[in-house]
């Protein structure tokens, strides 16, 4: 067939084949051109606060921000599209970690310097109970004086 068949082709079929792939190619071209121009297309997100990073489970960004000087014990703004209430909130990273029910993130924040004193612990335990985050309740209770 290869040698015997005519070298022409069905252009309508070729177009049908090419159209979806051309759409992908435009995306690829944007990536490559942006890359060569020094931009970071499809990559760099907006800057996050520590609490926002916690809300989107970005453990590495939490650590990077804290190592860069961000205070893990103060309240930080969480933009409306990251918050469960869909309104801007100002919460601590630990509250954000409890909000998304991630024990490993609570542990990470404590390792990175977040303080769990008695008032903070009581507030976090109450919130974790509301969210049925039993593993977090157990962890926080272990850090306190006993189950409450």
């Amino acid at each position: 067939m290869n040698a015997a068949a005519p070298r022409s082709l069905s252009w309508s079929a070729a177009a049908a084949l090419a159209i979806p792939l051309l759409a992908v190619a435009l995306c690829s071209a944007r990536v490559v051109v942006g890359w060569m121009a020094g931009a970071n297309p499809f990559w760099d997100g907006r800057p996050l606060t520590v609490s926002e990073a916690a809300m989107v489970r970005d453990h590495a960004e939490v650590v990077r921000l804290i190592h860069g000087g961000a205070d893990p014990n103060r309240s930080w703004l969480v933009a409306s599209d990251f918050s469960d209430s869909h309104r801007p909130e100002t919460i601590t990273p630990l509250e954000a970690a409890v909000q998304i029910r991630r024990l490993e993130l609570v542990e990470l924040l404590v390792r990175e310097g977040a303080t769990v004193d008695e008032p903070v612990r009581a507030r976090l335990v109450a919130r974790a109970r509301d969210l049925h985050a039993d593993d977090i309740v157990a962890y926080l209770n272990r850090r306190g004086e006993g189950p409450r």
């Binding site: 070729a14 792939l21 759409a23 995306c27 490559v32 489970r57």
Partner: protein, 471 residues
């Protein structure tokens, strides 16, 4: 005009490869799978590094050797060197793929974009770009197989012979699926490709036999035990203990299951890693669009290849083979042998070389279809064009999806560095010495400095729908 079409194909291949390479080089070095290997490469002698890959059912001395070699250039800039090598291998893979198609007219040039999408978007290719150890040896084998195909299809030259034999030896001593390089050379020669001589193919075959024989003579040689790793079976996954309990006395049924599943996985994207997830989710009413797209697009590619085989069958019976025929037959042999090699356990990435060669077969089949439609009746052309557009759309989604999944891998990998100490304790990796601590800290800091937006950011609103088509 042929030159122009060839240039179009290579530009397309370069663009696609560079686009994915951009995402690949942004993945930080892994803690799991990479850090311990890096520490080993830095501290062990050449002999120890290579001997470490021999035993327990494996003969992979060059696995440690290659790592040692690259590490000689990587001290102090590990991420740049290893990620750069990964990106380079990816680009080489795509360019060798385009070269193997041998674009000679508009039809073959216009089939290349579909072929590249099939190569990069296949689920079997996923593991070659999402992870590294820190060199991805599966990708190395894919590159070696495509290089073998290119070597076979050219003017006979002594350098091709020498390169072909060296390629077989190097890849077989790196990972077991390296024998697929020999399969490519042998099938190409048997079907009339004379770029590599008969003597070179025979020499490579003798060396391969010696290596396979040597593997069985080594202490603990033979096949990996069932107790080594989990594997998919039926609608789920069995842990090593379960595998041992169920198949330990008579593992041959399990081996046969694995071989069949691995072959079907390339042809239909189902089962995946030995698990019939598409059927399971379909029956449960929880089928994700991504799985449907994968199965439909892979099946479409297989229909193309089957059509090509059927249309060429009468010519093949007279043992007359052209370039496109050879590519299809090489792919068929590679799928069979790669599946047979996978008998101990199933994993999609093990079939990456067969998947890449199968994409090559589907590419020439698509080109042949475009040529055939030039003389077909309009209603048939219209119907087939609609099907081709659906097929192309499916593979376009899969091509975009692999970019998304690589970015997801970057996010996960970066996060893993926050658990470095826990990982080291769990895997008994001592990081207390100053040199080890310095290397681990440097890699961790480098990973943390590579900002990767959380995929969760995209999972709100419209992004959530899109993601369902990607994973």
């Amino acid at each position: 005009m042929t030159r122009a079409w060839r240039a179009v194909a290579f530009v397309w291949g370069t663009l696609s490869a560079a686009s994915l390479a951009y995402f690949v080089v942004r993945v930080p070095m892994q803690v799991t799978d990479s850090l311990a290997n890096l520490l080993g490469a830095r501290e062990q002698s050449w002999w120890t590094a290579m001997a470490g890959g021999v035993g327990g059912g494996y003969v992979r001395p060059l696995l440690g050797g290659e790592l040692k070699l690259v590490d000689a250039f990587a001290a102090g800039r590990e991420t740049v060197v290893y990620r750069g090598l990964h990106g380079f291998e990816l680009v080489a893979c795509v360019l060798l793929f385009v070269s193997a198609v041998r674009v000679r007219d508009a039809a073959s040039a216009l089939a290349v974009p579909l072929g590249v999408a099939m190569l990069l978007g296949a689920h079997t290719f996923d593991g070659t770009v999402r992870e590294a150890f820190p060199i991805n040896n599966y990708l190395t084998v894919v590159v070696a197989c495509l290089l073998a195909v290119n070597l076979s299809h050219g003017e006979p030259r002594r350098w091709r012979d020498v390169t072909a034999v060296a390629l077989v030896v190097a890849t077989m001593l790196t990972v077991e699926s390296g024998i697929l390089v020999l399969v490519c050379l042998a099938v190409a020669w048997l079907t009339g490709a004379r770029g590599v001589s008969r003597g070179a193919v025979l020499a490579a075959g003798v060396v391969a036999l010696a290596l396979i024989g040597g593997r069985f003579l080594l202490p603990g040689g033979g096949t990996p035990a069932l107790s080594e790793r989990p594997s998919g079976f039926g609608f789920g996954r069995l842990e090593p203990q379960e595998l041992q309990a169920r198949f330990g006395a008579f593992p041959y049924f399990f081996y046969a299951y694995n071989v069949v599943c691995q072959a079907l996985s390339v042809l239909f994207a189902e089962p995946s890693a030995g698990t019939w997830a598409f059927i399971r989710d379909l029956l449960a009413g929880s089928l994700r669009p991504a799985r449907l797209v994968a199965v439909a697009s892979a099946t479409g590619a297989t229909v193309l290849v089957v059509w090509f085989c059927a249309s060429r069958w009468s010519v093949w019976r007279s043992r007359a083979f052209e370039h496109d025929d050879r590519l299809v037959l090489v792919a068929a042999a590679a799928v069979a042998v790669n599946a047979a090699l996978s008998f101990p356990y199933t994993k999609d990435v093990i079939m990456s070389a067969a998947g890449a060669l199968y994409a090559l077969a589907a590419t020439v089949a698509a080109a042949a279809l475009l040529r055939r439609l030039a003389v077909a009746r309009p209603p048939l052309v219209f119907a087939v064009s609609v099907l081709l557009m659906v097929l192309s759309a499916g593979w376009s989604i899969r091509l975009l999806a692999v970019h998304y999944r690589v970015r997801d891998a970057a996010f996960v990998t970066r996060n893993e560095w926050t658990e470095l100490d826990a990982w080291a304790a769990r895997n008994r990796v001592d990081l207390s010495s100053p040199t080890r601590a310095t290397l681990a800290r440097r890699l961790r800091d480098d990973a943390l400095d590579r900002r990767v937006p959380s995929p969760s950011v995209n999972e709100h609103g419209e992004g959530r729908t899109l993601v369902r088509y990607f994973e």
